[in-house]
Amino acid sequence: MVAYYQESTPNYLRIIKFAGLGISLTLLTVVVFFASTFLWLMVSTVDAASSADAFLETLGGPNNAQSYALTSARFQEEQDPSRFASELEAIGSLNFELLPVWRRTMPNNGATGLKGTVQTESGTAFPFVIEMVNEDGWKVNVVTNRMTGAIGPGAWFTGMPSAPRVLQFVKDTMADLGPAIMQDDFVAFVDSLPDTVIEEVASSSLKTTFDQIVGQIDLSRIADVEPVLDPPAWELITSCGSFGGSCSTTGVGTRLMATGYYSLEPEPFHFKLIYVYNHPDWLIDCSFEQNCALSIGSGEGR
């Protein structure tokens, strides 16, 4: 009798069946995984989202205190009710709406970020974010449409500051600039500025115009005179990419131009000052393309 020795041969049908089963199971796992993740996200953020909705509904209302009461302790530490009101006033009447669940992020360390769109009266829509923190219920920690830079707790919007506020910026600047012009001491003016902008202002276009008017005008009473302000406007800068690259215009919400004059004798004293948003303040910045100017006289060529 002959004994044959034979190794098992691969069963290809069985292999194909197993491969098919493996692929189906993998696909099923992926679908179940994403569905579970979605449910998890929905459940984790539902309370924060409803609190955010409640806050956003009160924003357009007449009672800012009601909105302010829905904010976190850190929010209230960083932004007092009057600044909160001025930020809301600056953006005017807007329609806030949160994005759907799939645009939410998971809560992390008791905080969650929600995104939304805000629509202006003219119909323009732009994005905003609202960060909610859990402190005895979900409270608003940050609500902003400022998407760049570090923004702390509070409500911060890119709306144009009110005219009285801009007037105050100008008066504060001139309170230091006027005496500096009288004493021909630009350094004294620069030293009065916050450290973050000293270098920019020291080497700016303001220095050139400063030198031109020194000794030509008496600004000793400037603090007692009320400046006449043109409507504040954004200082827009358009920059284009090289070799036919697309152009973009920046400055809305970040660069504020304050122009006007002081009605002084014998000739009015004109100013063009540029303020840059440096959270949470507006600071004078005349560097690079931001040309600030001071001049005396009236009519063309002043």
Partner: protein
Amino acid sequence: MATIASAQTTTQSLGPEGVDWERVHFTASLAIFGAIVGASTILINLLSRAIPPQVPEHLPFSQSLYFGGLSGLVSVLVVVPAAWFIYGGRPTFSSYRDRGPRSLVRWLGFGSMYGGIHMLLLGGLFLPQANLWFSFINGQVDFLQMLYTASDNLFTAPYLSITVGLQLLFTSMLSMLVFGLGASLIDRINASEDPKTALIGAWTASIMLSIVLIAFLMLAPEETISSIGNLAQ
């Protein structure tokens, strides 16, 4: 008068039937060891990424578990089918045992294949997806971004397997060697003529080697592990 009786066909077993426990033992032993080698590979790699003056430091336990578990899982995915195939099916018509051990050189070859495939799979698919998931649960990306990026990662996996996988090159080379040597030892013990040794020896060897690797990772100075990962000093 003679009649032809209708012949009755019967199925008779030509060898042992049922679950091939020998093969299962071997595969499971290698899978355990492979998982620990895989987990060590990524942890050593992450430590070796510290560039002076940065001091190499172990990740927090939860992150070590996360990335180590992921790399271990990839190893299991590579090792299980490979070990099953390498061990081979049960011979029929024979009770002769011809299932190892394989030579050290062959195991070093298998180790190289393991290290290479593990590196490409981990770098190309699993690590980018794990990083994405990590960002998601830490609230850095929203659900839709996660979906988009996950599908993007899937389609760019061949590219990522080179760019991200190459970052694991040196540690993967080490894992090739360690896995090859360890697997060879497990195979030799598993092929022992002594039935008891053959039964529990492979498990024991696998677990012991894994414990040694884990102990080394936990107890050795971080600078040493980091320099090993860089194949330097």
